[in-house]
């Protein structure tokens, strides 16, 4: 299938863009790192919300959990970044499995309220557990060792950016495989009709808990990256704003597209950053208008516009080739 192989070429676009940004962003490189982290969080949400249909407003709990886990690991145990990332990802995954097991018997609005409740509980716990989180002051004193013992986390954020990009790439490949696996297809089925899936013998709850844990590990990795690259973890990582932003960026980019997370988080991050630079008080207005525009004119997110452009391009090529 030449078509399928050619189609794989489109994968080049986002990753090459990310490298171009690395060489051209200059002072905005840390914004780039933030966007990469936001993409990873959005991607984790696409897995549970987009593919498995788990309506959650509580993914900040796992993002923040991962951030504090990585921060504490660096402060108290070991300041290698990969070890910290693995630790934080795994621990957050376990936390996701436990909390998921509690709440995934429910669905719809009830489930959404429970995800909110868990996020609130975690945030409140973090607020009081000074010994773990530093409370309002945040967790400070994170000193990361050079990545792989070779690359120092420099002031300009070069290492941080490439490190985040590598982690994002690894999770992306994993997610890309997962959603195409029999497991991923059963999630797609559960989203469409849990009743149908039970009728073919699917243990629906167990499968949802599994993907929820996986997604929590991914969100936790994003949180860990955030703590490691900024050398700081604060309560804001657990705020409902983080959960909400992730849902918005996912909707903006387009659900169940994976690259929708890339597009949504990038556009949101860049627009927010520049709008806030121009007007620190009314930047939300710009973001709000942009969202309304997308909801009204590109219901399936910005990825649908990409599809339009891509199809036009492919069509033009075909016509040119025929001539």
């Amino acid at each position: 299938m030449a078509g399928a192989r050619l189609g794989a070429l489109w994968h080049v676009v986002p990753w090459v863009t990310a490298l171009v940004v690395y060489y051209t962003a200059g002072g905005y490189l840390s914004l780039g790192t933030n966007v990469l982290i936001m993409i990873l969080l959005t991607l984790s949400l696409d897995l549970v919300l987009g593919h498995a249909g788990i309506v959650t407003l509580g993914h900040a709990a796992y993002f923040g959990f991962g951030a504090y886990a990585a921060g504490n690991f660096a402060v108290h145990v070991h300041n290698g970044s990969l070890a910290g990332l693995l630790f934080a990802g795994a621990l957050t995954g376990v936390f996701g499995l436990l909390t998921g097991a509690l709440i995934l018997h429910t669905e719809g609005v009830t489930l959404m309220m429970l995800t909110l409740a868990i996020a609130s509980l975690v945030a409140e716990f973090a607020n009081h557990a000074h010994f773990l989180t530093g409370g309002d002051d945040g967790l400070q004193g994170i000193r990361m060792a050079p990545l792989l013992g070779l690359f120092r986390f420099d002031l300009y954020g070069h290492t941080a950016y490439l490190y985040s990009l590598g982690v994002l790439c690894a999770w992306f490949v994993a997610t890309w495989r997962i959603v195409r696996s029999p497991f991923g297809r059963s999630l797609d089925g559960i989203r469409q009709s849990p009743r149908r899936m039970r009728a073919i013998g699917t243990p629906v709850w167990r499968r949802l808990v599994a993907v929820y844990g996986l997604s929590a590990a991914m969100a936790g990795s994003a949180g860990a990256l955030s703590a490691q690259t900024t050398r700081y973890a604060s309560l804001s990582a657990l705020s409902i704003l983080v959960s909400g932003t992730a849902v918005v960026t996912l909707a903006l980019g387009g659900t169940r597209r994976l690259y929708g997370a890339f597009l949504g988080a990038t556009v949101y991050g860049v627009v927010q950053s520049f709008a806030a630079e121009i007007d620190p008080f009314r930047w939300m207005l710009v973001v709000g208008l942009m969202l309304m525009g997308v909801v009204l004119f590109a219901e399936k997110g910005l990825m649908s516009l990409v599809d339009l452009g891509r199809n036009a391009l492919v069509g033009a090529f075909r016509r040119a080739a025929r001539r």
């Binding site: 495989r177 029999p182 497991f183 297809r185 009709s193 009728a199 243990p203």
Partner: protein, 251 residues
């Protein structure tokens, strides 16, 4: 004793408060049986289906499949023991292609639905087998189309194809022709004639033509009790059945 019955139900009881919806129901389906469960509205047919599939817990009684008790199992575990069903109202993965609707069921049966890695060839085998199941029921065309785009009659057959893909010992057909336009009904009838001979089938159906044509034994349910059972000819000749059921709805 010969081989155990594919499905055996003994003394099944269920009440909602004072309302007894199933009272002391016995059922036996040998492998390959074709049994029809009929009764007027409110007789408790749907309750029986829900008790068998595990959607409801019985107050008393036992259910076994091929000799193994399934009473305490969850609905999805019962499916894995060989009890498949179709739904009264089509329940398909609407956005998923017809082929994948069946393939997902096969993946579940083969226990590869937990696979995250190294699934390529096995998923390909699921798709190939799915095509074979669709072909048996004569609905292999347009298998790439989303299930929701299929005409309703074909959707009903797709439900049956999915159930058969699970390789069940027992198949519950819950009103397989419900909602199908009269013009398409013959397609359902013909497909039902081609179901595997070794699967025990319990058909719950309002369409008397279909029941009498398809089954070899009929169980008549009235107010949660088995009124009588027998061959289609015996049931058709039974005065009591006519009084409570045929007399009213067939008039």
């Amino acid at each position: 004793m010969s081989a155990p019955a594919a499905l055996s139900v003994r003394g099944l009881c269920k009440s909602f408060g004072a309302l007894a919806v199933a009272q002391d129901v016995d059922l036996d389906l040998a492998p390959g049986a074709r049994v029809g469960l009929i009764g007027p509205n409110g007789a408790g047919k749907t309750t029986i289906v829900n008790l068998l599939t595990g959607m409801l817990r019985p107050d008393a009684g036992s259910i076994t499949i091929s000799g193994a008790p399934i009473d305490r199992l969850k609905p999805e575990a019962r499916v894995r023991r060989g009890l498949a069903r179709t739904h009264q109202i089509s329940n398909l993965l609407a956005e998923t292609s017809a082929r994948e609707n069946v393939a997902i069921a096969i993946a579940e049966r083969e226990n590869i639905a937990w696979r995250l890695l190294r699934y390529g060839r096995r998923w390909g085998a699921c798709l190939d087998e799915a095509d074979a199941h669709l072909a048996v029921l004569g609905i292999a065309a347009d298998a790439d189309r989303a299930a929701a785009e299929w005409p309703y009659g074909k959707q009903r057959l797709l439900e049956i194809a999915i159930a058969l893909a699970l390789r069940p010992h027992v198949l519950l057909l819950d009103e397989p022709a419900a909602g199908v336009p009269a013009l398409e009904a013959h397609v359902i009838h013909e497909a039902l004639d081609h179901l595997p001979a070794d699967v025990a089938i319990l058909m719950i159906e309002h369409d008397m033509d279909l029941v009498f044509r398809f089954v070899r034994e009929i169980v008549v349910l009235v107010q949660g009790r088995v009124l009588t059972r027998g061959t289609p000819a015996e049931i058709a000749a039974d005065a009591r059945v006519r009084a409570v059921y045929l007399g009213r709805s067939m008039a």
